[in-house]
């Protein structure tokens, strides 16, 4: 076989499997072999389900032979270790959950399995999805497969929190992956790793069985190497789920078909507040390039204002820790997860939580506890909820005038391991362009659009109205076609 199986897109693999050019087992084994070779260095997977993947692939081959047409039959994926998987250890990147083996399957992963997907393993991540570099994982950082052109020795971060998912897909250790995005945790790593990452509308993908960080901000979504592949994955992941009270009971349109839609006549808003002072010139230039591409494709460019953008991060760092402090109260060493014995029950709780949580998680729980505590609730939490309402209003008003917004995804390319660790706020600023879409619940995608002068990928972000992922996919696909992004990471299977 001349073509390297791990280089195929999901759409190409679907066709190849259908035409019997290769089997699902061969496809799974090619990826498992690549994982054996590269994962010891990248640390993208926390666990690899070799036997299970081969078994699922063989079942897919049998189904394919019988003419089964389920969309993901035999497609090998990585699953962020925040999704509970039946009988397979699920840690959320935390020491707290090292012993946890879920007795159930999350709805999103169950949907992927229903459609025939093959699960290669569980992907590394920032602890409880709190981080933008994957450096807070209890199981060590993930290496970004991309390298700086003139400094190949520097180890770069893949972004976070879904850093393992992004590194796995970029290095060809999976064809696609699940992620979750609470403040940018799909889109920022997608931008850092040269991938497409999609945060759908809040409620589009069920949160049931996804270990909770901040329930009103957590969005499951896909990573892949093309816009169309993320559309294929989202079609399977999405759908109403009675087990999640915030799951939206709305029909799931054909996202893949939406990728073929023209952007001619669409009105694309360029929010002026996203032009931050410290933004590198290369990112500003890429943004202008993206505007020019969409204009050339027939879209109309409109200057818009989202006046509360600068308050997004501050709002986020009240709302998210507040919800986290409540959600993570369940880790008390009693019913599941790690336990540290103490002198009495209270001591058991306090030792369990001090030992089981890493410093970033402890810090955020304490922020959340404080902003919800008597005397501070109104000043912090209630005020943040009001600012959040204003941020949503900004989007509502903008979307009366435009069909989509175009912005950079992140204020920088991938940075080196250890950078930005001294100052938590510097790390939080990574999410300045991605956080507003989480606060408003609107869908947003990151599309690889170019390289910086170091040869590192940079993404552009497309944001649309709630439940209008179709326009998001159409605009993203138009950007993808115009950008013709074909650069490859240094570390990858078959390289």
């Amino acid at each position: 076989m001349t073509q390297v199986l791990t280089d195929l897109t999901i759409a190409e693999a679907q066709a190849g499997l259908r035409d019997k050019r290769f089997s699902a087992e061969e496809l799974a084994l090619a990826h498992l072999h690549a994982i054996e070779t590269l994962n010891p260095r990248l640390n993208a997977y926390l666990s690899v389900g070799h036997a299970q993947a081969v078994e699922q692939a063989r079942a897919a081959d049998r189904a394919l032979a019988e003419g089964d047409t389920r969309p993901l039959l035999g497609i090998p994926l990585a699953i962020k270790d925040l999704f509970c998987t039946l009988g397979v250890r699920t840690t959320a990147g935390s020491k707290m959950l090292m012993p946890f083996i879920p007795p159930y399957e999350s709805t999103v992963t169950a949907n992927l399995l229903r459609d025939g997907a093959v699960f290669l393993g569980k992907a590394n991540m920032d602890e409880f999805a709190m981080g933008s570099s994957n450096m807070t994982s209890h199981f060590g950082p993930v290496e970004n497969p991309w390298k700086r052109r003139r400094d190949e020795s520097a180890v770069l971060v893949p972004g976070g929190s879904s850093g393992g998912s992004a590194a796995a897909v970029a290095a060809r250790l999976a064809m696609g992956a699940t992620g979750t995005d609470t403040g940018g945790s799909i889109r920022q790593p997608a931008s850092f790793c040269g991938l497409v990452g999609v945060k759908p509308t809040y409620g589009r993908c069920s949160r049931w069985g996804v270990i909770a960080f901040a329930s009103s901000l957590d969005h499951p979504g896909p990573f892949a190497r093309t816009v169309r592949d993320t559309a294929i994955l989202l079609n399977s992941m999405a759908g109403h789920d009675p087990k999640d009270s915030t799951s939206a009971d709305v029909a799931v349109p054909d996202f893949e078909k939406a990728c073929e839609r023209s952007v001619k006549g669409l009105r694309i808003g360029v929010p002026r507040e996203y032009r931050s002072d410290g933004m590198p010139g290369e990112i500003e230039a890429l943004w202008q390039q993206g505007i020019a591409w969409l204009k050339a494709a027939g879209a109309e460019i409109v200057d818009v204002s989202l006046p509360h953008t600068k308050y997004g991060l501050g709002t986020y760092y009240i709302v998210a820790p507040a919800e986290a402090s409540s959600n993570l109260a369940r880790y008390d060493g009693v019913r599941f997860g790690r336990r540290e014995n103490g002198e009495d029950l209270r001591d058991l709780y306090e030792r369990t939580r001090a030992e089981g949580f890493g410093p970033e998680v402890r810090r955020r729980i304490m922020i959340g506890t404080y902003v919800l505590s008597a005397g501070y609730y109104d000043a912090f939490y209630l005020r943040a909820q009001k600012v959040r309402a204003l941020i949503l209003r900004d989007f509502d008003e903008a979307f009366q005038r435009v069909d989509a917004l175009l912005t950079p995804t992140a204020p920088s390319a991938a940075f080196a391991l250890g950078e930005k660790m001294d100052d938590p706020i510097k790390m939080y600023l990574n999410d300045v362009f991605t956080v507003p879409a989480n606060l408003a619940g609107v869908p947003a995608a990151s599309v690889p659009a170019g390289l910086d002068s170091n040869g590192l990928p940079l993404g552009l972000q497309v944001i649309t109205r709630s439940f209008d992922e179709e326009t998001m996919f159409a605009v993203s696909a138009a950007l993808e076609r115009a950008a013709g992004f074909s650069a490859l990471p240094t570390l990858r299977a078959g390289a």
Partner: protein, 95 residues
């Protein structure tokens, strides 16, 4: 407004996280930097704005108040750090 060491200890107690004396200083510094930065929200005029509790404009759905799941204690207790029969076990609470 800056947090003092006593407040840091009180937050840790409320959060049920054991904090050693040696950690209080560092935590106090970090939390003060973060809260100092968050104070920018005070610039925003929120008069008459209703707080937004969740993303998007969706109304919460109601379901029938019926038992439709459960009855599998072994699955529930499977991950328990300690158990006694069909119960989670903890250190003695009442003398």
């Amino acid at each position: 407004m800056a947090l003092d060491p006593a407040t840091v200890r009180r937050i840790a107690t409320l959060a049920r996280i054991r904090v050693e004396d040696a950690e209080v200083d560092k935590l106090q510094g970090e939390l003060n930097v973060i809260f100092g930065w968050i104070e920018q929200l005070n610039e925003v005029d929120v008069t008459g704005v209703a707080p937004l509790t969740g993303a998007s404009h969706m109304a919460m759905k109601m379901r029938e108040d019926v038992v439709n799941d459960g009855g599998y204690p072994e699955r529930i207790l499977f991950n328990a750090p300690d158990r006694a029969g069909e119960f989670f076990a903890v250190p003695k609470v009442v003398e």
